[in-house]
Each structure stands twice: as C-alpha cells, then as structure tokens.
C-alpha cells in the first residue's frame, strides 16, 4: 500500500493527459492516482463532491496527496475535506501547484 494521489484541475482532458504521461513513467509502481477535473468532459471547473469521491478512491489507508491548480480548485479541495470521513481527512494533504499542465513538470 502506498500514498495515493488525486489530481484536481479545471480541465478533465488536461488532467487525464498529465496522469497518462506520469503512468508511463512510473509504470508498475502501484501508486493509486485518481482525477477530479472539469465538470464534465468539456466544461471547465472543479467539483468538491467529485474531489471527495476521488480522495476516497485513492486512499489505501496510507494517506492521500491532493494536487490542485490554483484559484477555485483550492476552495473546492478545501470544501471536499468537509465532505469526507474524519478518519480519512486526517491523512490528506492539500498541495496547490501552478496549473494543471505543470502538475508533474514544475
């Protein structure tokens, strides 16, 4: 079991592309990575309920690091912490990064 990663961004396509790139580089590591980005495939935005679900899905009991782009993604991620179990919340770290395209390169 490892720490899980949640990628939060405004664009679902951008977030999935970033994760695909990383999966190629860390193949077989077993690190759970989930995505909560965009309102749907094409609508930009963040959704705290989707982030809460993504945290639960990435959590293996070892903690979760939430990477989000700046702005409203931070507010949504903080609201997501209000929506999850207390036990899980205690092992979640929020980590704002510059922008979705820079998740793993900055």
């Amino acid at each position: 079991m490892t720490v899980g990663l949640v990628v939060v961004g405004h664009s679902r396509a951008l977030a999935h592309a970033s994760v695909a790139l990383v999966q190629m580089m860390i193949h077989g590591s077993g690190v759970p990575i989930t995505v909560a980005a965009g309102l749907d495939e094409t609508t930009f935005g963040t959704d705290a309920t989707a982030i809460a679900d993504a945290i639960a899905a990435a959590d293996q009991g070892q903690g979760v690091v939430v990477l989000m782009d700046l702005g409203s993604a931070v507010l949504s991620a903080e609201l997501a912490l209000d929506l999850i179990d207390d036990v899980v919340r205690d092992r979640v770290v929020l980590c704002p990064v510059v922008a979705a395209g820079n998740f793993f390169t900055s």
Binding site: F44, T46, D47, T49, G71, S72, S76, L79
Partner: protein
C-alpha cells in the same frame, strides 16, 4: 406565500431559489461582463448553469425538511457551478442546513440565523474580510440589516427588503475598492473602478429572498 407571513417554509425557500434563478438568468451577461473586467469572464455563465441545475432538481419535486432542501441546493451548486462561486455558494447553503434542521417551517428569527451561519461559512471558506472586494461585502451587511430589522420588530418581508437594500449598497461600495482576494487581486490597483461580480450576484440572492417573502405581486 401570503404577504406579511413571518413563517419560512419549504415553499418560500423554493420561491426564493426560483427568483434567484430568474435574476441570474436575466443578468447572466451582465455578471459575465463584470467578471470580464476583473476575472475570467465566466461568473454569469457559471451562476446560470448552477441555478438551472438547482431548478431542474426542484422541478423533480421537493422532498424532506428545510435542511434537506438546503443540502440538495448546496450539492447541486458545488457540482455544477465550476468556478469559485460553486464552493462558496455551496458552503452558504450547506451551513444553513443544520440551523434550519428537520423542520418544514421556522419563524423569522430562527430563519435569520441560517443565512448568518451561511455567511460565516463563506467568510471562513474564502478567508476574506470586509472591504476585500468579494461577495461578503454584500452578504455581511445584508445579514446585519436582517438581524437589526427583525430586532426592531419588522416583519420578515420588510426585514429581507432592508437586507436586500444593504446588500445592494454593499455591492455598490465595491466599485472603488482594490481587490485583495481571487483572480481580481492580480490586477492590483487596476481592479478599482469595477463592481465585484460576486457581490453583484450575492445582492441578487438577497433581493430574490425579499421578493419571495413579499409574495406574488397583486
């Protein structure tokens, strides 16, 4: 809702939300234009999308107590607005829920504590202070006016109208302010001279409550 009735029930909350939807629809372009000057030009579209989703849920039928209605509104806004307004308006309705509780109707004073808790939640979530040029510049004066009017013996429709006037004044007072929160703060001094779009939509939220409490025009 009978004009002058001081009870807040599910029907009044629904009427409030439908009126807010009407205002955000009518003013979507206006809100987006305000946001174009200060932010990323999506506030009107985001509020339009969020309130259309709320109304779609209401159209499916309103079930449960006041807390359940507020939670449903909160969840819908959180999932459908997209921008910062989603978690902020979502927090407002989420924090109203426990105050209203498992009741289907409350008196005006009990009701007034709910938006107060909601606004406190928005302040905490946004970590904004009065004068930062945000939605709380409209919401906090509205809450103060609502409490003051009810304490002075005004009926709920009159108290909410005074709250709406205070929210509008708070919105207008954001014009000369330099933004200290959100994307608008990146503009620094250049943010002065524009109304804050969040304060503008917040003033609509309170105006919608007053209109709903006044009941259908005779």
């Amino acid at each position: 809702m009978v004009p002058g009735n001081d009870t807040v029930d599910t029907a009044l909350i629904v009427a409030w939300l439908r009126e807010f939807d009407r205002l955000t629809t009518e003013n979507a372009q206006y809100l987006t234009e305000l946001d174009a000057a200060l932010g990323d030009a999506d506030h009107g579209l985001n509020m339009y999308r969020g309130m259309k989703a709320v109304v779609a849920k209401l159209d499916e039928g309103v079930a449960g107590d006041l807390a359940a209605v507020c939670k449903q509104v909160a969840t819908t806004l959180i999932s459908s607005v997209g921008g910062a307004a989603g978690p902020l308006y979502g927090t407002l309705f989420l924090r109203m829920a426990p105050v209203l509780g498992a009741n289907t109707a409350v008196d005006a004073t009990t009701f007034a504590a709910a938006p107060r808790a909601g606004v406190d939640g928005v302040v905490a979530r946004g970590r904004a202070e009065l004068g930062d040029k945000t939605m709380i510049d409209a919401l906090v004066p509205a809450g103060d006016a609502l409490d003051a009017a009810l304490s002075a013996g005004a009926g709920l429709p009159e108290a909410l109208r005074q709250a709406a006037d205070a929210a509008a004044a708070g919105r207008d007072a954001t014009l000369p302010l330099v933004a200290r929160k959100g994307r608008a703060s990146y503009l620094g001094e250049r943010s002065a001279g524009h109304l804050d779009p969040g304060a503008a939509s917040s003033a609509m939220l309170i105006a919608a409550a007053a209109t709903a409490a006044e009941g259908p025009a005779s």
